[in-house]
């Protein structure tokens, strides 16, 4: 029997590597490859970078990119801030916290399609929310069919569904901070606000970095609520790049363009994540100087 540690390493890593290759590397490679082809009259033709060049002058792509960036600019800070606020509440030892914890864990247990259907019923013109608003003399609003509201409705639903999940990570991070450190800060005269800014947040930085990166990744690739609620409309106001790629590939049959969009999306994501890592992980080093 071969006792070389290299063989053992390969053997034990093989299942994970295989999974990574099949489910991550292969699709990315396939997307890259497909993005270099186009299909005309049922025939696949190599076109080089033409799909990418086409995107540059494609107003539909640019509009979709703007929607995607705006969507992410709002939803990511919102989700992380709310998740942090909830996590800070979650770790308090106050009466009634058990109920609060249960309430905020429910969204995690509900599958996304079910949640989206429920929210659709809530947000319909004759739905629950408009009924409630009507009782105080407001509305009705077209939450899902007005270009002014639709994107924000999707942000609200995705936030509702997502924050409890991120909250759990942040709760874990908070519980890792020894309580004496906060007590010491309290004895030194730091206010609750100062303790949060000067002690808790710096110590929570690694967890925050992870949550921010993972959250941005998920939101850049968000698809299901758009697919189920608005179909990218009204008037393209919710037409994020993932949905644009889906339409391009599966509705209009232009797989080359779809793949080019996906590759652009992944490239943007990599750049954003790299910038975040630099910003958030270099900050403590600066402090040391």
């Amino acid at each position: 029997m071969n006792r070389s540690p290299v063989a053992l390493l390969v053997l034990t890593l093989a299942p994970a590597l295989l999974g990574l290759a099949i489910f991550r590397a292969y699709p990315i490679g396939l997307a890259l490859y497909e993005s270099l082809y186009t299909t005309i009259a049922g025939e696949r033709t190599f076109v080089g970078l033409e799909n990418y060049v086409g995107l540059l002058t494609d107003s539909g792509f640019w509009k979709s990119l703007r929607v995607t960036l705006w969507f992410n600019l709002i939803i990511n800070p919102l989700q992380v801030a709310l998740a942090l606020a909830l996590a800070l509440m979650f770790v308090q030892k106050l009466p009634g916290m058990a109920v609060f914890r249960l309430l905020f864990l429910i969204p995690i247990g509900i599958s996304l399609p079910v949640a989206v259907i429920i929210w659709r019923i809530v947000l319909l013109p004759e739905g629950f929310l408009n009924g409630a608003l009507g009782a105080i003399g407001l509305g009705p609003y077209r939450f899902l069919t007005s270009p002014d509201f639709a994107l924000y409705s999707i942000i609200a639903i995705a936030t509702w569904k997502g924050i409890s999940y991120w909250m759990i990570f942040l709760v874990g991070g908070l519980q890792n901070i020894p309580p004496e450190i906060n007590e010491a800060a309290r004895l030194e005269g730091a206010s609750a606000w100062q303790r949060l800014w000067l002690v808790t947040l710096p110590l929570l930085r690694p967890t925050l970095l992870f949550v921010l990166v993972a959250d941005i990744t998920i939101n850049f690739l968000l698809f299901a609520p758009v697919f189920m609620l608005t179909g990218g409309g009204p008037r393209g106001s919710t037409n994020v790049l993932m949905y644009e790629a889906y339409k391009s590939g599966f509705v209009f049959g232009d797989m080359g363009r779809a793949m080019a969009i996906v590759v652009c999306l992944v490239a943007m994501l990599l750049v954003i994540v790299a910038i975040q890592f630099r910003l958030l992980s270099s900050a403590p080093a600066k402090e040391a100087r």
């Binding site: 450190i181 007590e183 010491a184 030194e188 730091a190 000067l198």
Partner: protein, 353 residues
Amino acid sequence: MSGLRLTGLRKAFGPTEIITGVDLEIADGELVVFVGPSGCGKSTLLRLIAGLESVSAGEILIGERDVTRVDPARRGVAMVFQSYALFPHMTVRQNMGFGMRVNRVPKAEAAERLEKAAALLQLTELLDRKPAQLSGGQRQRVAIGRAIVRDPQVFLFDEPLSNLDAELRVQMRAELSALHARLGATMIYVTHDQVEAMTLADRIVVLRAGRVEQVGAPLHLYDDPDNLFVAGFLGSPRMNFLTAEVQASGRLRPEGTEVDLPSPIPNLRPGRRVVIGCRPENVELGDGPLEAKVRTVEQLGNSTFVHMDCANTTIAAELHQRWGTQGDATLRLTLPTAKTQLFDAETSLRIRG
């Protein structure tokens, strides 16, 4: 600096009362050690004084000021935690200056106080390091430094040496003692280590189950304990206890023996059950009325501990010489009457003549 007074202090967590009525006065500049087994409430008592826990009943006075409901930061106390509780993302300088930073102390004054404390604790060279780059002893000094720069009226130490290795603990103990002498500050020190208590304290407060068992100077408590608990808690190996019954003759017969020992206290009621206490260093081996069987012999070089079975219990003797006898030997011993103490077997209280 100022003293401290606790009056009728109680603390309950839900239905469980942890501190069951503590009255205590601590003089200005005194170093008082709270000692007791784990769960006795000593750390809770310290946290009540610090303000990290709210008081259920009673009063805390620092100097002449009632601080019972005052915010921890405004009580004039500084605390050193067992885990040091340093801010890991800050340098030593930032850690020590944290309180002055949040309280907006003018920069020049803050720097001066910080330099002074750093010099006192030999931390000047380490000011720009982070806690992770320091040894345990250095971290402990930073935690003490952070307390000193605040110039508190009372220093609180919560088992500050428990995370250090034995050698460093002895060294830091001496440093703390010297620091107390130099600062002349009022200090309260919590430990479960009776050696720390004996060596550091001006006075020791022995706690059990949320109550003060006895307060006094270390040697006073050692020589003159009020009850079985204090007698047994201070000293290592602990005091030997033999349950005995007072005979018609006034002499004491230990359980499981046929011998009568003279009583250190005359005129006890015959039939009364008492506990004879005798410290290991006072047990005399070689001759005497009691027969004992050697169990183990611990040779420490400068002294020898002999553990024996005697009168239905175990007796330890401390000898200041080498001792050749091994296990299973049978020998005779004496508990010198003048050096024994009597306790009531029912109430555990000391019987004084």
